[in-house]
C-alpha cells in the first residue's frame, strides 16, 4: 500500500513551505508559464541563459505541495547546468516519478525524494508541471504549457 509519508517526505514539505529561488531573476532572458487546468496550478519559470548554460533560475506561482516543492528543487538542480544536462535530469526525473525506472535515483541526488510520487499516479502531473515549464523556457517557446 502506498504510504503517505513516501509522498510527503520532510524535504518535500519543507521546500513547499519555503521554496528556493522563488523570484524573477534580474537578468531573465527566457521565461515560460505552465498551467494544470485540472487543479489550477500555475507557475512561471524564469531563466537567465548564458549561451547554453543556465546562469540563474527562478520561479513564481501557486500550486500544491508536490508541484511547489518540485519547482523549488528543480531550480536548485539545474542552476549552472547546460541545456542538455537539464534535459537529461528531467528525463531521469520523469522516469522516476512515473515509476518507469529507478535506475537513476542515485544520479538525481536530492530529487530522488520524489520517487514516492510513482505510487500516486494522479499526482505525477503535479511533480512534472515545473519541469515541463522549464523545457518550454529552455526552448524559448512563447506559448503557455499545459499538462493537458
Amino acid at each position: 500500500m502506498a504510504e503517505l509519508r513516501d509522498l510527503y517526505q520532510e524535504v518535500i514539505l519543507e521546500h513547499s513551505k519555503a521554496p528556493r529561488n522563488y523570484k524573477e531573476p534580474a537578468h531573465t532572458n527566457h521565461k515560460a508559464e505552465g498551467y494544470n487546468p485540472l487543479c489550477g496550478d500555475r507557475f512561471t519559470v524564469y531563466l537567465e541563459m548564458d549561451g547554453e548554460t543556465v546562469r540563474d533560475i527562478g520561479f513564481q506561482g501557486a500550486g500544491c505541495a508536490i508541484s511547489k516543492a518540485s519547482a523549488s528543487m528543480m531550480t536548485q538542480s539545474v542552476k549552472g547546468k547546460t541545456k542538455a544536462e537539464a534535459h537529461k535530469i528531467f528525463e531521469q526525473f520523469h522516469e522516476l516519478v512515473t515509476g518507469h525506472s529507478h535506475d537513476h535515483a542515485a544520479e538525481l541526488g536530492k530529487l530522488a525524494v520524489f520517487s514516492g510520487v510513482s505510487e500516486f499516479p494522479v499526482r505525477v502531473k503535479c511533480a512534472t508541471l515545473a519541469w515541463h515549464t522549464l523545457e518550454a523556457a529552455l526552448e524559448g517557446k512563447q506559448e503557455k504549457v499545459s499538462t493537458e
Binding site: 503517505l4 509522498l7 514539505l13 487543479c39 505541495a65
Partner: protein, 417 residues
C-alpha cells in the same frame, strides 16, 4: 449493547443503514479503509434496484423502440414511454410529452441554446447568467453569443455565495432574451430562488432556462410552480445511470422550436424534396436513444420516491448542518459558500494546504472528496482561490462519515505540521 458499540443514527429522517445496504459499491475498501463516499455532486452511487432495472431491460425487453410491430419492440416502446411519464410526474410537468430525453444536463442546455436560442436571439440581444454557474451553463451561451452577436451579462453574488437579486433585476431589460441559472450551485451548494427570479425574467419577456443537475437529487422540484421554461437535469446525480438525462420544456415553446439533430425517429416522413418532422418530444430525439438508461432512470426515481424526496432532503440537510458545524470548528479552515439556503455541498479551503494535497491525504483514509475548481472557474476567481475541497452528501451518507472526514482533516494538519 457494549460500551463500544456504534450508536444507531437516531436523528436522521431515514433508516440509513437499510439504505446503505441497497448500494453494493458502498462495501468497497479503499486503501484498507471502508469507503466514505462524499463526491456525490460529481456523481451519485447506484442502488441495486437501478442496476437490476438495466440488466432486466437487456434480459427481457430490449428491442428498438417506436414503429416496430413485433412483441419486444412494443414492450421496449411501452417501457421507454412509461419512463418519460415517470420523469414528468417526478418534476411535476403538465404532460409527459414535455420531457425530452437527453444525454444529460449539458446536452439539454445545448439543445435549448442551439434551437430556441438560434431562432430567437439576435445581435444586440442579451443573455443573463449568474456568477455561480457551472461551465456547462456558461459555454453554450457564449457559443450562442458568438453565433448571433448577442451579449452575455453576469449577475453577481455576495460573499456568502448568494445571488444579489437587486443586481440581477437591474440586468434585465427589453434586450434580455434568455436567463440561464442553476437551481443549486455545484461549487457552493447555494439554492437559488428560481421562482422569484423567473417572475422577474418573465416580466421582461425573457425565457428562463434552469440547470437542475444539483437540485433534482436533493429537492422536490415542481417545474410548473417554479415557472421554468426549460429545466435540464441528469440521471447519474440522482442514483440513476450515466449517459441519460431529461430536458423539461413548456409545450408551446417546444412546439415552436426547430429540431436539434436530424436523423431517425425525429421525422414523420422523409423525401429528398421535403422532410416532415415528428411531433414533440420525438422531434428532439434523433437516433436510437438510451433505452436501458431510461429504464435505470425510472428505477432511480421510483427508488427516491419510495424513500420520499422530502425525507432525503431532511436527512441531507441534517448532515450538511452537522458537517458545517464540525468543519467550522476546525482551525484555519474557510468555508466557501455560506448561503442561508443550501443543499448537499460543503466547499472549503485549508490555510496553507492546497486542496489537491488534502484530497490525496483524505483518499488514503478511504474518503472520496472532490478537489479542484468543480468546473466553475469564475466562482473560484470570485473568491480569489485556485480550488476548493468539496464534500457533497447523499441519502446514504452518515454522521459517522462526517466524523471520518473531520478526523481526515486533522490528519492533514499532522502531515503539514
Amino acid at each position: 449493547m457494549t460500551a463500544s458499540a456504534v450508536l444507531p443514527e437516531t436523528t436522521s429522517a431515514v433508516d440509513v443503514e437499510r439504505i446503505r445496504a441497497d448500494f453494493p459499491i458502498l462495501r468497497t475498501q479503499a486503501h484498507g479503509h471502508g469507503l466514505v463516499y462524499l463526491d456525490n455532486a460529481a456523481t451519485a452511487q447506484k442502488p441495486r434496484a437501478v442496476i437490476d432495472a438495466i440488466v432486466r431491460y437487456y434480459e427481457s425487453a430490449n428491442a428498438n423502440i417506436h414503429r416496430g410491430v413485433h412483441y419486444l419492440s412494443q414492450l421496449a416502446t411501452e417501457e421507454f414511454e412509461a419512463g418519460r411519464a415517470t420523469v414528468a410526474r417526478f418534476v411535476k410537468a403538465a404532460k409527459a410529452s414535455e420531457i425530452v430525453f437527453t444525454r444529460g444536463t449539458t446536452e439539454g442546455i445545448n439543445l435549448v441554446a442551439q434551437t430556441w436560442g438560434r431562432t430567437h436571439v439576435r445581435a444586440g440581444d442579451e443573455i443573463v447568467v449568474t456568477a455561480m454557474e457551472h461551465h456547462s451553463d456558461i459555454v453554450p451561451w457564449q457559443m450562442l453569443c458568438e453565433a448571433t452577436g448577442a451579449k452575455l451579462r453576469v449577475a453577481p453574488m455576495n460573499d456568502r455565495g448568494e445571488l444579489i437579486v437587486e443586481e440581477f433585476a437591474k440586468l434585465l431589460g427589453a434586450r434580455t432574451k434568455i436567463v440561464a441559472l442553476a437551481h443549486v450551485s455545484n461549487a457552493l451548494g447555494t439554492i437559488n430562488p428560481v421562482k422569484k427570479l423567473a417572475a422577474l425574467a418573465h416580466a421582461q419577456g425573457a425565457i428562463v432556462v434552469v440547470d437542475g443537475a444539483q437540485a433534482v437529487p436533493h429537492l422536490a422540484v415542481d417545474v410548473q410552480d417554479l415557472d421554468a421554461d426549460f429545466y435540464s437535469f441528469s440521471a447519474h446525480k440522482m442514483y440513476g445511470p450515466t449517459g441519460i438525462g431529461a430536458l423539461y420544456g413548456k409545450m408551446a415553446l417546444l412546439e415552436a422550436m426547430p429540431p436539434y439533430q436530424g436523423g431517425g425517429d425525429m421525422i414523420s416522413s422523409v423525401t429528398f424534396e421535403k422532410t416532415i418532422y415528428n411531433k414533440v418530444p420525438h422531434k428532439f430525439e434523433a437516433g436510437t436513444p438510451d433505452m436501458a438508461g431510461v429504464a435505470g432512470l425510472k428505477a432511480a426515481i421510483e427508488y427516491m420516491n419510495a424513500i420520499g424526496v422530502e425525507k432525503i432532503a431532511a436527512h441531507e440537510h441534517d448532515l450538511l448542518e452537522y458537517a458545517t458545524e464540525a468543519v467550522r470548528a476546525l482551525e484555519r479552515i474557510r468555508i466557501i459558500g455560506t448561503a442561508a439556503e443550501k443543499a448537499s455541498v460543503l466547499s472549503f479551503t485549508v490555510d496553507d494546504v492546497h486542496p489537491h494535497d488534502i484530497g490525496t491525504i483524505l483518499d488514503q483514509e478511504g474518503i472520496a472528496v472532490r478537489t479542484g475548481h468543480h468546473c466553475a472557474q469564475p466562482v473560484m476567481e470570485r473568491y480569489g482561490i485556485p480550488a476548493t475541497v468539496r464534500a457533497s452528501f447523499a441519502v446514504y451518507n452518515t454522521r459517522a462519515e462526517v466524523d471520518a472526514l473531520v478526523r481526515g482533516l486533522r490528519r492533514v494538519r499532522e502531515v503539514f505540521a
